[in-house]
Symmetry: C2
Subunit: 337 residues, 2 copies
C-alpha cells in the first residue's frame, strides 16, 4: 500500500508521519515502501504490495524489499523495520543496526515462540500494554514509543452538540459495536454507527449487530473518510468503542479525542496509556459502568481532551522517542567495534 494509505492501514499512517517528521528534523531518510507513496524522504520502491498484506504474492514482494535493504544497508546508520519477523531471517547480513517496531498483538502462540527465538533483536513497543503477554521472555525492548499523528491538521475541535454517541471503527467482535449499541439503547441515547464490516466478520455482523440497527435510536453512517470522521465524531457527546481485546494501540481513540469528544471504552490493553479515565472519558469494566459513563459525559472538558492528545501523540514526540532509540543503537555499535 502506498504511504500514506488511501484506506485503512494504521501502520502505514504511522510510518508516513514518522518519516515526514524525521525529514523535517533534518535527518536523511530513505523510505522502503510501495510505489506511489507520497513522502519527503527518498523513496525506494521494490513493489506495489501493502505492508499488512499476507499471502504468497505479498511475501514475494517483501522478500525483494528485504533483499534490497540488505544490499543498501551500508548506506545507513540505522534501519528501522515495520515488517515484523521477516527481515530477521537475513541474520547479520545488514551492515547497520536493525530495530523493529512491533505493530501487532504479541499473544499468539507462534508469535511468542518466534520472539523467544530472536530474543536478541532490538524491539520497540507501541505501548507498555503490548509487551505484557511476553513479559516473561525478557526481550531486547529499547523503548515504548507511542504513535503520533498530525492530529492538529486532520481533526478540529468539534462542538459535541448533536447529542448522539458515535461508534466509528471496524465492525468486528473485538470492537464490539453490538455492545456499544446496547449501551446506547439502555442509556436512552442516540448512537451513530460507522465503519467497515470485514468479510470474515460478516456472520458476526448479521447475527449480533444487524438486529439492533432497526432501533430508532441507531443511525447508520456508512464508511467515513478522515473528513467524515472529523465531522461525525466532532458532533458526538461521546465516542464509544468498548473493545473486547487488549488492543496494543487504539488510533481511533486518539483521533476521537482530537475532536474533543470524550472516549468511553474498557479499561484494558493500551487504553489506560492513551487517556486518563475521568479526565478524557471513562474506562469501564462492565456494561453497567459503560451505561453510567454515558450520563457523566458532561463532566469532561472537550478542549482538554484535544490538548492532551495533540501534545502526547504528536509526530514530534514520536520522532523524539525514536531518535533516542536510534542514538542508543548507533552508540552501541560504536562501542562494539
Amino acid at each position: 500500500m502506498p504511504v500514506p494509505p488511501r484506506e485503512y492501514g494504521g501502520t502505514e499512517r504511522i510510518v508516513h508521519a514518522l518519516t515526514q517528521e524525521l525529514v523535517a528534523r533534518g535527518h536523511d531518510v530513505t523510505l522502503f515502501a510501495a510505489a506511489g507513496s507520497e513522502t519527503s524522504a527518498e523513496l525506494h520502491s521494490s513493489s506495489p504490495a501493502p505492508l499488512w498484506e499476507s499471502g504468497a504474492d505479498a511475501l514475494a514482494a517483501h522478500a525483494i524489499e528485504i533483499e534490497d535493504m540488505v544490499g543498501r544497508s551500508a548506506e545507513f546508520d540505522v534501519i528501522h523495520s515495520h515488517l515484523d519477523v521477516l527481515p530477521w531471517l537475513a541474520g547479520d547480513r545488514y551492515q547497520a543496526p536493525l530495530v523493529t517496531t512491533m505493530h501487532g498483538r504479541l499473544d499468539l502462540p507462534d508469535q511468542r515462540k518466534v520472539l523467544a527465538r530472536f530474543r536478541e533483536r532490538p524491539l520497540v513497543s507501541i505501548s507498555d500494554a503490548q509487551r505484557k503477554p511476553v513479559d516473561d521472555l525478557h526481550l531486547n525492548w529499547r523503548a515504548t514509543v507511542h504513535h503520533g499523528l498530525d492530529l492538529e491538521r486532520i481533526y478540529h475541535l468539534g462542538k459535541g452538540d448533536k447529542g448522539y454517541l458515535a461508534f466509528v471503527s471496524r465492525l468486528t467482535p473485538e470492537k464490539a459495536p453490538h455492545l456499544a449499541i446496547d449501551v446506547a439503547i439502555k442509556a436512552e441515547m442516540r448512537i451513530v454507527v460507522a465503519g467497515k464490516v470485514p468479510d470474515e466478520d460478516r456472520d458476526y455482523y448479521e447475527s449480533k449487530v444487524k438486529p439492533l440497527m432497526d432501533n430508532p435510536l441507531v443511525e447508520w453512517a456508512g464508511e467515513l473518510d478522515d473528513g467524515g470522521k472529523d465531522e461525525v465524531i466532532g458532533g458526538a457527546v461521546g465516542f464509544i468503542v468498548p473493545i473486547q481485546w487488549d488492543e496494543p494501540f487504539g488510533l481511533a481513540f486518539i483521533e476521537a479525542l482530537a475532536t474533543g469528544t470524550p472516549v468511553i471504552s474498557m479499561a484494558r490493553g493500551s487504553l489506560p496509556e492513551l487517556m486518563e479515565s475521568g479526565r478524557h472519558g471513562f474506562l469501564c469494566s462492565s456494561e453497567d459502568e459503560l451505561i453510567a459513563a454515558c450520563h457523566k459525559l458532561g463532566e469532561i472538558d472537550r478542549a482538554e481532551c484535544r490538548r492532551w492528545v495533540l501534545e502526547r501523540f504528536s509526530p514530534s514526540r514520536m520522532a523524539a522517542g525514536y531518535e533516542a532509540v536510534y542514538s542508543g543503537l548507533i552508540a552501541g555499535r560504536r562501542a562494539a567495534s
Copy 2:
C-alpha cells in the same frame, strides 16, 4: 500440518513420499516439519504450523524453522526446501547448498519479480509447464522432477462399471465443476460430484454450480477421503475435471489414472505431461470436444492407465530425479571449494 497431511495438502504428501523413499534408499534424512508428522526420517519440529498456511502466525513458525535450519546446516550435504522464497532471505548463512522445489504457479507478478531477484537460487520445477511464465528470466533450473506418490498402495484398479463420470476436486472456478456437469448433461451421462467448496469460492458455487445440482443426472457425494476416492473414481467410466488454469501439477489426475479411470480435461498446464491424449483419456480445447470425449471413453484401456502412472509417478522415480539434483549440487560445491 503434519506430514503426511490429514486432509488437503499436496505439498505435504509429496514431501512425505519423497522423505520415506530417500530413507528407504539408504540416505540419512532430517525432516523439518510440523510436530506430529509421521516419518522414517529424523524429525525436527520447530512448530505445529502447516507448510501452506500464510498469515502472521504461520510466518512466525516458519521463521523459527528457517533459523533452526541455518543453525544445523553444517550437518547436511544438501538442504531441500519446499518453503518457496522464505528461506532465501537467509542469504549465504546456510553451510550446505539449498535447492528449492517450486510447488505453486509462477505467473503472479510479484512471483516473477522475486524469482528474477533471486535468479541464482537452484530450483526444481514440478512440470515443464510450470516454468513457462518465467521462461524469459533464465532462472537456475536444475531439473523438472514430476511428483511421485505411493499410488499402488492407495489406489486399486477399479472396474469402471458404474456408468457415471466423476468430478472429484475442490469446487473452484479453476477446476470448473460447472463445466464438468454441463458436459455430462449434454452427453446425457450421470456424473458424481465430490469435493470441498472453499470459503472464498462460495459465491461461485452458489451461482454457477448449485443450480445444476438438481438435475437428475447429478449426484453429490460430499467430501471423500482416500478410500472414498478410490471407490468412487474406480467405479467411474471417466474422470472429468476440465481445468481452467495452467495447473503446474494435477495430483488428482494421476490418482484417477491409478484407479484405471481415463481422464477428460483440457490440454493445458501440466496435463500433457501427465498423460497421453487418446491413450489415457482425452485432452480437449472446447466444450464440444469434452462432450465428444465422453462418448469415446470405451476406447481407453484401463489397465494401461494404471500401469502408466504407477511407473511414471512412483516415489522411486521421483527420488531418483532428486538424487541427481543433489549430486549435481554437491559436485558443484566441491568444485567451487
